[in-house]
């Protein structure tokens, strides 16, 4: 029963994802625009640090994957608020399945969507002249899964506490955007003021971006092990908190 509930919640989200053609197109167009416009624009003033990427576009590429994982995960989890508003959440909550299975289903659905979107961006690697091997692709998917697990459960924790859309802008402005900008996706954190570095160092997305950049371009700020450990730890704590919060919904 547990896995059936998880399966059907994921199935529904995936069906919804592919039903909205504009969403599918957007999921390709948005990262492509970032890569082409931001990448090309900054290529001219970018001076590669020793041992990093050849161009800014290449430096940006893993960051864009990280950005997509962040937005996909958070939006996927926050769709619980939509479901609450439009009533579908009640259909889920009165079903004879545990609250834990619902929370896990929502989190895994975020991971699945992130992997689909991440896969699409990997397909754009030719735009920035990055060459991927099969092993790298598998590693990237594993990292996307882990990062998305952490971020989806964070989103779910927030969504379980929110009754309406009003808080949504608050989350976007004070959580998602800072996480996005201060993750090392656009610029490396070394050499920046202390206060920025300290925020970057507690941001789970920083570790996701670092690991992705390491796998794709071969340069790490931390080590792969540190990145994975931080994300796994964050994922476990957030999932536990999200499951607890969800169980409180009578």
């Amino acid at each position: 029963m547990f896995w059936k509930a998880v399966y059907v919640i994921c199935l529904r989200d995936i069906r919804r994802f592919f039903r909205e053609k504009s969403q599918v197109i957007g999921s390709v167009a948005r990262p492509a625009l970032w890569l082409v416009i931001m990448g090309t624009g900054f290529n001219t003033i970018f001076r590669a640090q020793a041992g990093t990427a050849d161009t800014y576009s290449q430096f940006l590429f893993p960051g864009i994957i990280g950005m997509t994982v962040l937005f996909t995960s958070v939006f996927s989890a926050v769709s619980v608020i939509w479901d609450r508003q439009f009533g579908f959440l009640r259909e889920i909550l009165v079903a004879p399945v545990s609250r834990t299975s619902i929370a896990v289903g929502k989190t895994l659905s975020g991971c699945l969507q992130s992997m689909i979107q991440g896969g699409i961006i990997l397909g754009l690697s030719f735009l920035v002249d990055v060459h991927l091997t099969v092993v790298m692709i598998i590693q990237v998917f594993a990292l996307i899964f882990l990062a998305s697990f952490a971020l989806s459960s964070l989103g779910l924790l927030i969504a379980s506490r929110m009754e309406s859309f009003e808080g949504f802008n608050l989350i976007m402005n004070f959580l998602v955007m800072p996480m996005f900008l201060l993750s090392g996706a656009f610029f490396p954190a070394q050499g920046l003021p202390m206060w920025i570095r300290s925020i970057v160092s507690i941001n789970p997305l920083s570790y996701a971006v670092d690991a992705l950049r390491g796998v794709i371009l071969g340069v790490y700020e931390h080590t792969l092990a540190t990145d994975i450990l931080f994300m796994a730890g964050f994922a476990i704590i957030m999932t536990a908190a999200a499951v607890t919060a969800f169980n409180k919904e009578a």
């Binding site: 029963m1 059936k4 509930a5 399966y7 059907v8 199935l11 529904r12 069906r15 919804r16 039903r19 909205e20 439009f86 009533g87 579908f88 959440l89 009640r90 259909e91 889920i92 909550l93 009165v94 079903a95 004879p96 399945v97 545990s98 009578a250």
Partner: protein, 321 residues
């Protein structure tokens, strides 16, 4: 099928459900009748495990809603007041979601899906996205979904709210059909008096309390006979005269003077011939549940609709809470 004992649910000190005790038998159509904000939906939400009671006990299909919510959930089907469909999915996909989450094997699911969609006249539209459906079609689809797992008990929260009369009578046909053919127990809420008459028994609820519980016929007997509505050239004088001559309690409003009479057939001719105030019009009718509600609560049900919550708060303050 349902049993509650002194059930209470408070929201920030407001008693939404206040010491409610009742029971519903198997195969019964049981109605909760009252204005919006009277506590009907809250009671349903407690019974279907969406809210925890503040105090008291409630049992559904002999399972305790607090201690054994999963078994309660397996026993019940729900049709909510507001739509709870995923309108980006098709009708069929909505039913599939329900079927899988209720763990119905695929072959049985397909069979019932066809049967139910045909019953609610939506088989031809099964591949259409719910967004394109009218309010009545959505409600019918929800009924089909609520029945997919063959619940022993069906909760209907204002099942015909905002629907046209034709769809309403359609839905009532389904409900009677379900009870007669499948022996399903039905618990419903409504604030339409005429609809409540379809129930076997009715609980009238006002400000979170049950003020009366009986069959529609017995409830109507609470009103002292038939209802006569009278318009005269001088209502004030007429009221005085009725009081002096018949010692009857009357009620006055914009529509005229209302009085309740037992032997109205004999009363009217005598009344008209001997009454000294000129009568403009006189109207006799059998009592309705509207009259019962008015009699029991002292206010009309429809006047409450607009700001039931506000009135509820006022009522609480008046009680010194």
């Amino acid at each position: 099928m349902i049993r509650t004992e002194n059930l209470c649910k408070y929201f920030n000190g407001i008693k939404a459900v206040d010491d409610v005790t009742f029971s519903v038998q198997k195969g019964e159509i049981f109605g909760f009748l009252g204005p919006n904000g009277a506590g009907k939906t809250t009671t349903i939400n407690v019974l279907c495990t969406l809210l925890r009671p503040t105090s008291g006990r409630a049992y559904v299909n002999d399972y305790d809603v607090t201690d054994d919510p999963n078994n309660v959930r397996k026993s019940i089907g729900l049709i909510f007041q507001e739509p709870s469909l995923d309108d980006r999915l098709t009708a069929e996909e909505n039913l599939d979601f329900h079927g899988i989450i209720y763990d119905i094997p695929k072959d049985i699911r397909e069979e019932r899906k066809k049967e139910l969609l045909e019953m609610v006249d939506l088989w031809d539209r099964r591949k259409d996205v719910v967004k394109t459906f009218s309010g009545g079609m959505k409600r019918r689809l929800e009924i089909a979904r609520g029945l997919l797992h063959r619940p022993a008990l069906l909760f209907l929260d204002e099942p015909t709210l905002g629907l046209d009369p034709q769809t309403r009578s359609h839905i009532w046909n389904y409900i009677h059909h379900l009870r007669d053919e499948q022996g399903i127990t039905i618990f419903m809420t409504t604030h339409y008096m005429d609809e409540a008459e379809n129930c076997d028994r009715i609980a009238i609820i006002d400000y979170g309390k049950i003020v009366a519980l009986d069959t529609p016929e017995a409830l109507k007997k609470l009103v002292g006979g038939d209802v006569i509505t009278l318009k005269t050239i001088d209502d004030e004088k007429a009221v005085r005269e009725i009081g002096e001559r018949y010692h009857l309690h009357v009620r006055r409003d914009a529509k005229g003077i209302h009085l309740e009479i037992k032997n109205s057939e004999e009363f009217i001719p005598e009344f008209i011939s001997s009454f000294s105030t000129k009568i403009n019009s006189i109207n006799l009718r059998r009592p309705t549940l509207d009259d019962v509600f008015l009699k029991l609560t002292g206010h009309e049900i429809r006047a409450e609709e607009a700001s039931a919550r506000e009135k509820m708060k006022q009522h609480m303050r008046m009680r010194g809470r």
